[in-house]
Subunit: 529 residues, 2 copies
């Protein structure tokens, strides 16, 4: 019937299955709403809609059979359509249903469809950039904010599968690095293996989520029992909400001032979990199940820790000597000479940005140019391959540095043939080429996207500084979340024009999917022959 | 005698020859000094010193025979030692000679050795970043400023030879792109060809210099004869000085306010010469001698013009609508609604930065964030391979874009083998790898160097903004010259601490030599085996 080589029905059918199963996690905010006596209509309607749409899409191909090409389409569509249908709770809460239901949250900025899509895309891509504006329970129900947290946790689950099981099969953007032994022509043959890998990693993902909950809530109760303010405001809701956005390196928080709202103890507890979230989950699984030494034998993991340690040392040095801050913030007070506080905020912020979590332990807009630049730099580093972290990713930088060393060697010895080695094995030149291409494409998109945002946003902002715009693009494309200036950690993306917001939705989308799966859809070669 | 495989004596001997011949161009400022009745001791002493040092170095190896390894050393040493000895006129003018000569220019900032080296390195690398501070004939003689101009013109001559004849033989950093037909194992075999090529290109280089002089000085006299202010201040001195810094994409000017000091007519005349200076001289030569059509058939040249046209259109649009300026400058007045002025400043500034000339037709520090960002973006584009322009260079971007397209294709068709083509022929995968490695190394050095400058400069500046520091690094590493803020086109690098200045000397040096020839000297492989 169709002359296309791509079986779009099969791909869309599988997206339908994913959408249908959204009805299960939608029960979480529903329960929260019941618990707090809040409106539940938005969730009931959404559950009905996702089941209906999902089932309808599944009918397109009752027995879908995916090849590599369909894989690209399915991945791209999933991360587009899931955020689209997930706007429904926001839209209904903000606008009600004509003739049926008055809006629960008339002051919500998420009643606007562009804002709602920005927020769900930011959620499912685990970016954490927000357009909520004023975050408070006066404006939003506990249930709606829990849904916002949950989009990130679900997005993180998707990313773990994507990164560890799907992208490697599509041989995209260097993701094949992680498992060069089993490249396959299509996805369908490997379904059992995917399912098995995914299950293992989800156990790890969910396990760390629960562990963080236990620690945070335990800290809260320990403080109460000992009568010490260890974590006074880390009640049940917050203790559930934050693990939901830590493990996916998401960064949404129901607190307007992010992690600044919590005690030093809470901040120290969250740091190692961000580190875990930015680590290759397959590696973590291996280290936990049979090879405890695997972690520190891994070159990528060592490089990851090393970069964070170096950046932390620099930032902490700046902060503690007083060269790191332009202004003393009211909430945190002075950092100069304050060893623990300087080290804590430096560590927290560097780890938060390198792992692309995007939490803030203080308003780093008050930091000096040098300290801010170190964070911008960190935005391009990114988490490990196979983690929920975004951006360019540490393993690519490692391979690039190794290949530059090789290039220096072959400049002197033009006759030498010397493969780049990673984890003891020689890297295929084609994989290397893919890493180079991805990294440069990422940088090129960053450079050009900043032009687009700056030119478009001049219609709204009197003068958006180039640095702030660069940070906004780096933070959305890299799925980091907050940037500097107007998009600082205590501010929001709300004031950007709708065109800029839609453009950033696009950036979050392609950034999360490692660009190529989306970009190939725009080529003629993909659709024909 | 030596166990080293590198014949450092041969390399140093050739550097000695270059230094010895510096005595010839030193006659130019000497003549200027005589013409203006200024001191000549600094030039006489320098001539004596370069002849002495040059002759001494030549003695190391009376019959030098260079291989590829010695080529790297010779290139790196030349661009280091020539600037070092060329500081002498500045040092003597600023400090005099103890017990012999009182300083001619006691207020000169160039009496400081670090400043002097910064200025000569900026000259010979055709960067145009300055630490003179207050540029005026009250502080500096016509002769000293002419020497400053001349360092750029000489540096440009060196770069033409380096880019067209030497780097390709060393197979460095993608420079081999320009002439893949004749890769050779060493330099010595190709000396006749180098000499021949160099002679042709120097004729072109000198020819365009003279042509620009004729046009500028002609404009001056036409204005006088017609009694119209066409170029009132483009007297003989300025009409000689500016061609000396245009053709090498240098950007030094004896006018404190750069090209803002001149009429619109002069600005329009200079623009096409900056375009020429950023064009592959070998291509220009071919177009002028036997194939007039070669220019526009060349993919790199078309891409070069296309990028400049696109950036100009964007900047002009911003300026003419008023979205491009934060403040109206006194010297230029408002640009909103001023079609010709907006187009002229947009064209001038974009061409000046893309070609890495660094002239300013106005203080673009007054531009908006969007317009400034477009210039920062332009700093990474760079001139054509085989031109005097610096930075990453247009041909690399072209190849990278083509290879990303290829990568998209092979993502869909993993079985396909598809070379990247440039100018009708397939590019060797190894050359492609070199281009990738160079570009990413350039970006990595830029990112890390900005950290160094920001951290180091906090000792002097209250708060150096990250954007200004990024521009300073991009402008020195890319041999552009001016940046933004404290290093804006009407300001200078004077206020940076000496350590930052020396670091920038290093950046100008490695940037000009396309990084690899310097970096290989730091590898063990270069010196041993
Ligand atoms: K994030
Ligand atoms: K320059």
């Amino acid at each position: 019937m169709s002359r296309l080589r791509v079986d779009w029905r099969a791909a869309t059918s599988l997206v339908g299955t994913v959408i249908k199963y959204l009805s299960v996690p939608l029960l979480v905010p529903l329960i929260v709403a019941l618990r707090y006596g809040e409106g539940i209509a938005e969730f009931l309607v959404t559950i009905a809609v996702v089941v209906a749409i999902g089932t309808a899409l599944e009918r397109l191909d009752p027995d879908p059979d995916l090849g590599a090409r369909e894989g690209f389409l399915m991945v791209a569509l999933t991360w587009l359509l899931v955020p689209v249908v997930s706007t429904l709770p926001y839209l209904i809460a903000g606008n009600g249903i004509p003739f049926v239901l008055a809006p629960y949250e008339p002051a919500s900025t998420l009643g606007n469809p562009v804002n709602a899509l920005f927020e769900t895309m930011s959620g499912f891509t685990t970016t954490g950039a927000t357009v909520v504006g004023e975050i408070s329970f006066e404006r939003h129900s506990h249930a709606i904010l829990m849904w916002r947290q949950l989009t990130q946790w679900l997005g993180g689950m998707g990313i773990v599968v994507l990164a560890v099981a799907i992208l490697p099969e599509l041989s995209v953007g260097g993701a094949q690095l992680m498992d060069a032994e089993a490249p396959g022509p299509g996805i369908e043959k490997l379904t059992p293996r995917i399912a098995e890998t995914a299950r293992a990693l989800w156990i790890a993902y969910a396990g760390f989520t629960v562990l963080l909950f236990v620690l945070l809530y335990g800290l809260h109760w320990a403080g109460i029992l000992l009568d010490v303010p260890l974590a006074p405001n880390m009640g049940l809701y917050n203790a559930i909400a934050h693990p939901f956005t830590t493990l996916p390196t998401g960064g949404f928080s129901p607190e307007a001032r992010s992690i600044e709202a919590f005690s030093a103890a809470v901040q120290w507890v969250i740091i190692p979990f961000m580190v875990v979230a930015g680590t290759n989950f397959a590696l973590l699984w291996r280290a936990m199940t049979d090879e405890p030494g695997a972690l520190f034998e891994d070159g990528e993991f060592r490089f990851y820790l090393g970069i964070m340690a170096a950046l932390t040392a620099l930032v902490a040095g700046l902060l503690v000597t007083g060269a790191g801050t332009e202004a003393v913030t009211e909430a945190v007070g002075p950092l100069a000479g304050q060893g623990e506080a300087a080290l804590r905020h430096a560590t927290f912020q560097v780890v938060s940005i390198v792992t692309t979590t995007g939490y803030a332990s203080m308003d780093f807009n008050a930091w000096s140019g040098a300290a801010q630049y170190l964070l911008l730099f960190a935005m391009f580093v990114g988490g490990s391959a196979g983690s929920t972290g975004g951006a360019i990713k540490i393993v690519r930088w490692l391979v690039i540095l190794k290949s530059i060393r090789r290039e220096l060697f072959t400049t002197v010895h033009p006759e030498a043939v010397r493969p780049v080695r990673l984890g003891g094995r020689a890297l295929d030149e084609r994989a290397l080429r893919g890493i180079y291409a991805f990294t440069l494409l990422y940088i090129a998109i960053f450079l050009v996207a900043t032009v687009v945002v700056l030119v478009d946003a001049t219609r709204v902002f009197d003068n958006l500084s180039a640095f702030d715009a660069m940070s906004a693009v780096a933070a959305t494309l890299g799925n980091v979340g907050p940037g500097f200036g107007v998009v600082g950690p205590m501010n929001s993306y709300l004031d950007f024009p709708a065109t800029s917001k839609l453009f950033m939705v696009f950036l979050m989308w392609i950034g999360r999917l490692e660009i190529f799966p989306v970009l190939v859809l725009l080529t003629k070669a993909y659709w024909s022959s």
